[in-house]
């Protein structure tokens, strides 16, 4: 399965590409600008009921009694559910049926690879609380009623008797003996503990000329998708369930839901054509999905359950807050001899993807970027009585970068080196292998550093510093894909059908969450098949299509699915050319296709349109009857070897991405306010399949990154977020954004379709440390906890004076 698809001749043919590398217009643009695009909340069905969830007002309490009688009697109420109605507990990709004691676990490989040296994941979350509630917002009961007001009224009629329990909010308190026990089977509130050593860090520190140790903190960042989580569920008479929802992972989500409902996967149809923002928050089945399916079953009517913005901020997940203590040993020349990291993860009430996120942080960026000679890690993932964070763009990498990249500047200063120079000396190059065993093939890291620095005017501005102005930079290392998230695979399947009129339908398993993935896939299909892109219709976001994919996460969509689409299109083209060859009386090898036309290479005047070939195939005498190409691709990546805790090359992914951001800031010495004047963001994208879409990914990630750096904080106090809507949560608005200069560096990857790599997450990763480094350069204060508020800057500047 390890196809090496980008051949040299293909690379040399770049100038002949019709669609690869072009600023092709989005295939899904028009429905979005006319208001036609239907998101789950826009679905109208006859007799559609509205579902609502009763949530815990307490961070930690035992449920003594629930009485739903009055709610059930309220006119207009069609179904009421409590924990006893849904006897299941689940976590990401894992479920446990409480009545039959049947455990639905992922394939064995999942556990080995993702969880590393940890105990098996535990299904710790009930869709509706069974015995206890563990955070403010935990689901207790649910109703379905004829309208929203009746549903809300019904919730107020549900009587719950609580026994308040002591709650714990700080993970360092939570780990202490005598702390309230949040889950009975998690001693010391330890949700997971990841630790290991590659090489010998003590030896490494002995070899170092300088050893630096610092502690860095990150906070709760909300995904803040413009569309809140939710779904519409509808059962038919045959017991088939249709779910309209907003998901990044339609196929794995279908599996998770079907297993909880104990029905065959083909009885669940997931429809998710339009997703109003996701960023990692929509990779998991939520309690609300299970609740909504059960409500619809009980009410025998379709039900819509949409989280309000307040519920979204209270209970839909966010970025994991980390406290990272990073110890690094370096030689005078800047080479890194050892790195040791201790992390405490504030996991909130349920484990969700906490182990996987931290596993990524520990194995990809920590030992990957700058490749320390020895490495030791220890991460304690600790339950607290707060809302559970989940995966979020970067998946543990922004936290890693916050520590590593801030510390790189501290080290550079102590060594008397320019931070740019220190990074260049430690940059990766093709042929490098990280300590984890990740093989660097294509790599434009040094070029990214040079170009970002140049774009910000680095040398000039570091030399002739203006008062209160500063420049800073930070780098990133990320994977394109992740083997082991769902088993021993990182795979996609696509189908390309040439219809009887020569038009083309592309059935995608991979998902469109706004990134432009479906447009990129259409470009790859058009290029490979030789069709006009306007002749291609892309169908996706539907689990009943003849396609499969693990979903839009880990910057994998265009990278992984691109190769599946390329194979499917090549397969269809083979069939197409054979029919054309029959019609024209030549050999298929003599033919080529371009712009939906097949022609003889030596004599292009002999040609057939795709329409003519389509008619000949479907209705002609050539026994072809249909032109359907199927492509399945699995990345030539490897699983972690359980014995060593490392990978055989190429490692977790078939390729890795690199980048560097440089920013210029101005700090107001009176207020401490940080104004970002410009961001230059250089990325190794492999091949720029569609520069417009790539720029869009970079620009959007920088909006999120600047929020993370400067203003976004869910401010959870005593377990309660002070944020209920966008007036309390400070997303960057249009006037707040600085000019952004995206820089695309093409390293032409040997594995990605036409040489491309994934770029969905990377630009989010280094923004915050680049800003912190620029603030240090501007006014000499090092802010080590996010976000970099004016209070922190001003206080630090005051301290500097004394």
């Amino acid at each position: 399965m390890n196809q090496n698809l980008a051949t040299k001749t293909e690379l040399e043919r770049i100038s002949e590409f019709e669609y690869v590398g072009k600023r092709v217009t989005r295939v899904d643009g028009l429905p979005k600008v006319t208001g036609e695009a239907k998101y789950y909340d826009d679905i109208a069905l006859h007799g559609l009921l509205i579902g609502k969830i009763l949530r815990s007002p307490f961070p930690h309490a035992r449920i003594k009694r629930i009485d739903t009688t009055k709610a059930e009697q309220l006119p207009g109420v069609k179904a009421v559910l409590t924990g006893k109605d849904i006897p299941v507990k689940f976590t990401f990709n894992y479920a446990e049926h409480l009545d039959t004691k049947k455990v639905e676990r992922p394939p064995k490989e999942d556990v080995a690879s993702l969880r590393g040296l940890m105990p098996e994941p535990r299904a710790d979350k009930a869709p509706l609380a069974i015995d206890k509630v563990r955070f403010i917002g935990d689901e207790i009961a649910a109703v379905a009623a004829v309208d929203e007001e009746t549903a809300i009224d019904a919730l107020s009629l549900i009587e719950v008797e609580f026994e308040r329990l002591h709650a714990v909010f700080d993970p360092s308190e939570s780990m202490k003996s005598g702390a309230p026990q949040i889950h009975d089977d998690a001693e010391g509130n330890m949700a997971a503990h990841l630790y290991g050593e590659w090489g010998n860090v003590e030896e490494g520190f002995k070899q170092a000329d300088l050893v630096v140790e610092n502690t860095f903190k990150t906070t709760h960042q909300a995904h803040a998708c413009m569309e809140t989580h939710g779904c519409v569920t509808s059962w038919d008479a045959l017991g088939n369930l249709t779910v309209w929802t907003s998901t990044q992972t339609p196929h794995p989500f279908r599996r998770e839901l079907a297993r909880v409902l104990r029905i065959p996967h083909n009885k669940v149809k997931v429809l998710s054509e339009y997703v109003g923002g996701a960023f990692g928050s929509k990779t998991e089945m939520g309690a609300y999905h299970v609740i909504c399916a059960y409500l619809a079953k009980k009410a025998a009517a379709p039900v819509k359950l949409r989280l309000t913005r307040e519920e979204e901020f209270m209970a839909s997940g966010c970025r994991h807050p980390y406290t990272l203590t990073l110890k690094t040993g370096v030689k005078k020349d800047g080479s890194i001899t050892a790195r040791q990291v201790n992390i405490i993860v504030d996991k909130g009430a349920y484990i969700s993807q906490g182990a996987a996120v931290t596993f990524y942080c520990l194995t990809v960026p920590m030992p990957g970027i700058y490749r320390p000679g020895n490495y030791k890690y220890d991460a304690k993932i600790v339950y607290t009585n707060k809302q559970p964070p989940t995966g979020f763009r970067g998946f543990g990498n922004p936290q890693a970068a916050w520590a590593i990249e801030s510390q790189m500047d501290i080290i550079a200063e102590k060594l008397g080196l320019d931070p740019k120079e220190l990074r260049l000396r430690n940059a990766s190059h093709p042929g490098d292998i990280t300590l984890a065993g990740f093989q660097v093939t294509s790599c434009g890291m040094s070029e990214c550093i040079q170009k970002a620095a140049e774009a910000i005017g680095w040398d000039e501005k570091r030399k002739n510093k203006l008062p209160n102005r500063g420049v800073g930079m930070a780098c990133l290392f990320h994977s394109s894909g992740e083997r082991g998230a769902y088993g021993d695979c990182d795979t996609a399947t696509a189908t390309v059908k040439v219809n009887d009129d020569g038009s083309v339908t592309l059935f995608l398993g991979s998902q469109e969450i706004g990134t432009g993935n479906s447009t990129g896939q259409a470009q790859i299909a058009a290029e490979t098949l030789g069709a006009r892109i306007e002749d291609i219709r892309v169908l996706m976001g539907n689990t009943d299509l003849p396609a499969f994919d693990l979903g839009a996460y880990a910057s994998r969509s265009t990278f992984i699915s691109g190769n599946a689409v390329k194979l499917a299109a090549a397969n269809a083209k083979e069939q197409l050319l054979q029919v054309a060859a029959n019609e024209l009386g030549v050999k298929a090898e003599e033919l080529e296709a371009k712009k939906s036309k097949v022609f003889v290479k030596s004599d292009p005047s002999k040609s057939l349109t795709f329409q003519e070939v389509g008619i000949a195939a479907y209705y002609g005498k050539w026994k072809q009857h249909a032109i359907v190409g199927v492509g399945t691709w699995d990345a030539p990546s490897t699983l972690m070897d359980h014995a060593t805790g490392k990978w055989k090359p190429p490692g977790m992914a078939a390729t890795y991405t690199f980048g560097c951001q440089a920013v210029e800031v101005e700090v107001n010495p009176e207020t401490g306010a940080v104004k970002v004047l410009k961001v230059a963001s250089a990325h190794d994208v492999g091949r720029a399949l569609n520069p417009t879409l790539l720029e869009g990914q970079i620009e959007g990630a920088i909006q999120q990154g600047l929020g993370y750096a400067l203003s976004e904080d869910m401010r959870i106090e005593e377990g309660r977020t002070l944020v209920t809507d966008f007036r309390d949560y400070f997303l960057r608005r249009a006037p707040d954004m600085p000019p952004i200069q995206p820089i695309l560096v093409e390293s032409i990857d040997p594995v990605g379709a036409y040489g491309l790599k994934g770029i969905g997450e990377p630009a989010m990763v280094p923004v915050a440390p680049a800003v912190a480094n620029a603030v240090y350069n501007a006014v000499g204060v090092r802010i080590s906890s996010l976000p970099i508020t004016r209070e922190k800057v001003l206080t630090a500047m005051e301290e500097l004076k004394h």
Binding site: A44, R309, T692, E699, D725, A734
Partner: protein
Amino acid sequence: MVQIDLRINGSDQSVMIKPHESLREVLRRIGFTGVKKGCDVGGCGACTVLLNGDPIYSCCVFAAWAQGKDIITIEGLATGGELQPIQQEFATRNAAQCGFCTPGLIMSAKALLDKKEKPTEEEIRRGIAGNLCRCTGYVKVVDAIASASKK
């Protein structure tokens, strides 16, 4: 329920509403689902429509209050199948990623361009300050509006 008359996208409609219903809820209920629901308190701008030419958060206006006023939603922008330049530019310049905030952004941009033919970049950014977008960083959005203003 009470009956009110609303003038939506140039045509008059009699609609049964609850007296406290917001304009957004009524518009969505009768099929104008391009009016998006991103929050519930006037913070995100996804529900922006034009009321007598002014961009407003339709979640913060009672439907009853809109009686007798001219309401334009995203569905009413294209005339006779012909897209407005602003819609065309959003589509071709990748200004709509996930697309959820797009109708609201386009309505705010439309109001801006109706009042000021050639806004500066700063004026464009101020003109859409009431609309949140989590995907684009606003770069392509501003490009699209600037480009539409030249058409």
